[in-house]
Symmetry: D2
Subunit: 378 residues, 4 copies
């Protein structure tokens, strides 16, 4: 049995729509059969053709029409993938949930935690799945790390350090000096947060996937480079349950970094380290013993990690496959739901993670506005 899905957005040249499509289809658990890829009908049709949506009648001119018409079909789509601009996520997701569709939505799922919570309630009421695409949290070795932590390999967690440096804001300004500089973006359009909402949330989700912990309190400092209204650099102290301390750093102005996500979890019996630049590797340092380099698709890993690998050991898998892991988990869950048969072991970021991200941003903004004070993540 293969699931069907539709897509809203994705057809305007941005790379991320195609990444969703490839991820969703990667393990042949689902197939793109409908879409409203663009408001420009020509682009819409071109995208449909390129992406093998065979039935022209399922290429819709509006996302509402797709929801309405697919809902009426006997054999319509099972879930919808929403890859439109952030400020439209809430409206679209709500409509599809109310129409009875399972949803996968790009992050952030909404503009506020309040909206996110509302979506969650609708999904729960209608017994629908809601997946959120936190990619870095979904590399196969992150699951290995989680299993190791749960098995006690590093003992009690003492400290978490995570970082996500990029430099695109600087690069963009350097390469397009005449364009309206990105860091002076109007917050009315961009929302109240740049760096924290865009990439700080990835770190929050990554910590959660790797350790199971969400921060209870934050003390954040938003750094505004060169007088920009929005922040492009962020440090935050975190406090998890049992007063476990943590710290994250995210930056869009860290020259020489592209997607430099890194996380280190320190326990009283050892530590684990993962860096996106070597995405297949997990470094494990058992206290008093040599550091070990675990490779994602090696036999010594837990099944839950290896099941997310598609190639023999030594063959690199990358960002597309991390996306695939999200959709793999989501589709297995949905298939289990539809068939009643166990689909095995799977995890993927859900609306709870999406809401947690929104709350995290809120708390960071409040902390900074208050002069870098401790704020509860509600």
């Amino acid at each position: 049995m293969k699931l069907q899905f539709g897509m809203v957005g994705g057809g305007n040249g941005a790379f991320i729509g195609n990444v969703h499509r490839k991820g969703a289809q990667m393990d042949d658990l689902a197939e793109l059969t409908a879409g409203c890829f663009s408001r420009n009908m020509e682009k819409n049709r071109e995208t449909a053709e390129a992406w093998n949506v065979k039935d022209p009648s399922r290429v819709y001119s509006s996302w509402k029409e797709m929801a309405d018409r697919e809902a009426q079909k006997e054999n319509g789509i099972d879930f919808v993938v929403i890859v439109t601009p952030t400020n439209t996520h809430y409206e679209i997701a709500k409509y599809y949930l109310e129409a009875g569709f399972h949803v996968v939505c790009d992050k952030p799922i909404a503009l506020t935690a309040k909206e996110g919570t509302e979506l969650k309630h609708i999904a729960e009421k209608n017994d629908l799945l809601f997946g959120v695409t936190y990619t870095y949290a979904s590399y196969a070795v992150i699951r290995q790390a989680r299993e190791m932590i749960e098995a006690g390999k590093i003992g009690q967690i003492l400290k978490i350090e995570a970082e996500y440096p990029q430099d695109w804001v600087l690069k963009d300004a350097a390469l397009n000096p005449d364009a309206s500089s990105v860091w002076r973006l109007d917050p009315k359009q961009a929302g109240p947060s740049a760096c924290c909402a865009d990439i700080g949330t990835h770190l929050e989700a990554l910590i959660k996937q790797m350790t199971g912990l969400h921060p209870k309190r934050v003390l954040a400092r938003l750094n505004h480079i060169k007088g920009s209204i929005l922040e492009h650099d962020l440090d935050a102290f975190l406090e998890f349950e049992n007063q476990i301390p943590g710290h994250i750093w995210a930056s869009q102005v860290a020259a020489g970094n592209d997607c430099g996500v890194k996380i280190r979890v320190f326990g009283d019996q050892g530590s684990l380290e993962w860096a996106h630049q070597r995405q297949m590797e997990l470094r494990y340092s058992p206290l008093t013993q040599p550091t070990q380099i675990l490779l994602a698709n090696n036999l010594y890993n837990y099944d839950a990690c290896r099941e997310q690998c598609r190639l023999p050991v030594g063959h690199p898998e990358g960002f597309h496959e991390a996306f695939g892991n999200i959709y793999r988990g989501y589709c297995l869950h949905l298939l289990e739901k539809k068939t009643g048969e166990s689909a095995g072991d799977f995890r993927y970021p859900t609306i709870d993670d999406g809401i947690a991200g929104l709350r995290f941003v809120d708390a960071c903004l409040k902390s900074d506005a208050g002069g870098n004070i401790w704020v509860e993540v509600e």
Copy 2:
């Protein structure tokens, strides 16, 4: 316009068939529309369903039938992908070429250089494309390296060093001690070469793609571990045009290595280094200046490199995408052929590279048999 292709083999659980399919479809230039995936008709149909071959009448019970029937169709497949065991490549490829189909074949393309050359002549006579899937040679930064060499960035080439260590033969023996040990395989079944044919050829092709050079002469030493009949480790001195020296090492018994391909090209003005473990990176050392780390999808690279990247800088692409690059080049060439319009800049390994690989293996075996003597690569 989207090309159609069929596949012979690939449906028996081996990962490589799926890698071909994903590679061929990656950039939406081609679509799998026919296949004879297995002689087991149930597996054949399951594979077809999983892989979205919609028309059941195009799932064939024999590869000959597929060739015959698709040839008769007005809108049949444009090319065939052959992923069967090596000893069947020649027969199948020949049949398809004679039926007028373009071909992509897994390496090695045949058992002997003679067979390969015959295939080449048929392809040329019928004006057909013949692609060969040398993956490591097809990572995006290899193209960057080639462009840099052609632009004189490292000056005159002085030396080439390449290596490909694996350890699967040892691992397999350790994990399956009761199984008939792989390294005592009967050469009657496996052919006259293990390590050289399987992975030595990858190095030969990688050198060619990166530098444009094929070895003229070799002096090879085949190492037979623990009395196995076939070699599982190989060192070879190479000599290229203008007496440029080179050396390769390939091994299937190098504990701690999985797919550790690495190449270093040294010129009188600088050097280039690529290692599969960091597949997105190219190291460039201009003489007397600091070593530079070039990332595949960064803006400072040549267009010919960047066109083979599908994600923004910092997002890793891996083995699947390297396969995608081969098929991208092949499909662009085929589309150019069919439409008469230029499809831009592309390169991919062809039957010439396939034949060169076979000749290389022959020369290595002859050199070793002769007591490690210099042998011309004919």
Copy 3:
């Protein structure tokens, strides 16, 4: 002309006394000719013999005696090296300064900034040099980084990130479970700070040497692992002149790390990165260009860097040589002072850096005690 120096402490088996001796003598600018290495006269004499103090009359039973007697000599020591426990530094340094000797003192130079300032005033009044041995700040490439920053290679500094993870507190507890656990040390003996005073100060000094910047304000969080009285992990937000933001992390409970000092300085035109694990390398990322790896003793570096290298490029120098660089600078300064002739270009950490470290610790403790509030570094 070769300087003479005496040493107070160092003879009781701790490695650091010997490191000072080797550092001070490394470039043949100074010679150990007197000492009071231990209150145990046998150890004192043994150390003197091992360390080539030839004249038995200059092996003193008390440091006061050494000061008094060497001061009376026509050809007595030029400077004294103080490597006793921290709580004795102030008294000894004061005595020697008042006796007219130049001083090198291990860090921290005193228990309070007030004491440090008093020492500074005495040194200034008597026109004496006071060096402080911040080692990590003294690797040759740190000087290269400083020169590059001053030359504008990374533009305006936007952010500084530095870290120093160790794991010895955990390791010690694991290997010596019955010993009184180090992290429950009595602050009455150890002073009010563990991690911040011991290694946080190294980061403060490293930032200063690399960028010229001292923090103006700090917001610190001291993490007390497992109920220990003293902190063993520290995060601090820093603010430098022109509101430049920074962050440091120091930890003594970060399993898998030994001496993992790392600093990254981000500017609007590029960044610089140095990590102690690869002490000879400086990573330079010019914005929009490939990252470069500069090696300490290569010809392309500034003279001020290369002068601190003693071996041809490719030969690693380590911790001993970093100590040597401090003493090289100190001795060149002292020789210049004594001879009136320019001794070239040199820098080394002085009492100002020592005082800055003490003030930094005070500010961090105050910030944490106040509930993680911003505190001026006075």
Copy 4:
């Protein structure tokens, strides 16, 4: 008890004399008390003063005089260190051995294996120690590797791969284009081999120290870049006892490399890897398990490794300390000899290793001259 030594050569600005002095004195087992550092008496005295040779009467105007006069002293030097140009080693070493002095000599110890063997016989006849300074073989972790191999950690050795790329010949030509190019050096002055004698021998010695194996047979290929008479690049197949195969590559024209020594030893149960660029690390890959990174001075290492470390874990030691390890072993041996008391566990390269290096060069030259044929290493 502290040994006394004299030095012949070293005072003419070349760095290596000072490296010997520092190495010999590093662990306070020996002291430089005599020397004939230069034929230029002014340089000779300056060097003596800088290097703390206190007694002017022991600064000699000829090395013969030093031998004669020190031999007559009741309390003369125990050993001599010879750091003169290679073509003088034999004559000087012979004279000192015949005068009854223990010897340490820079490599190569002579121009021919015949000369080396003669020196060995004199040393044996007179019961004298003869140390040879193969530095790369003397890093602390190489001893760790040796102990691990002897303990069976990697099982039976299957293959050895070692390399030593440099680029100074190219760099020198680029930076000094008008100078007589080094690679066209007259072999009458330089001897019959450049790359093989200078750095190939280091690989031979490194393999020996790490594994205990000397090659029995070689098949070498000397590469002459750009028409130079002497070779500047070398590949050689090696055969050790039990037909164990090996390969080395050495080059002086490998742009981007400085002192890039690397060795990998592959066994049927695991492998070990060491690279000079990360001189404190040993990589250990137990078959089917994750690769481990061992740090030289960590507690989990064998005592024989840790005894060669002088600093706590995490503090890098480099080239000077590797030299120190040679002298430490040599001095401990000499002290044991003089006192009759066991000095513990030590190893250092001896005249046997020096002779082995000369025989290795002879065999490589013979192999290449014969058209790359197998030649016994006699």
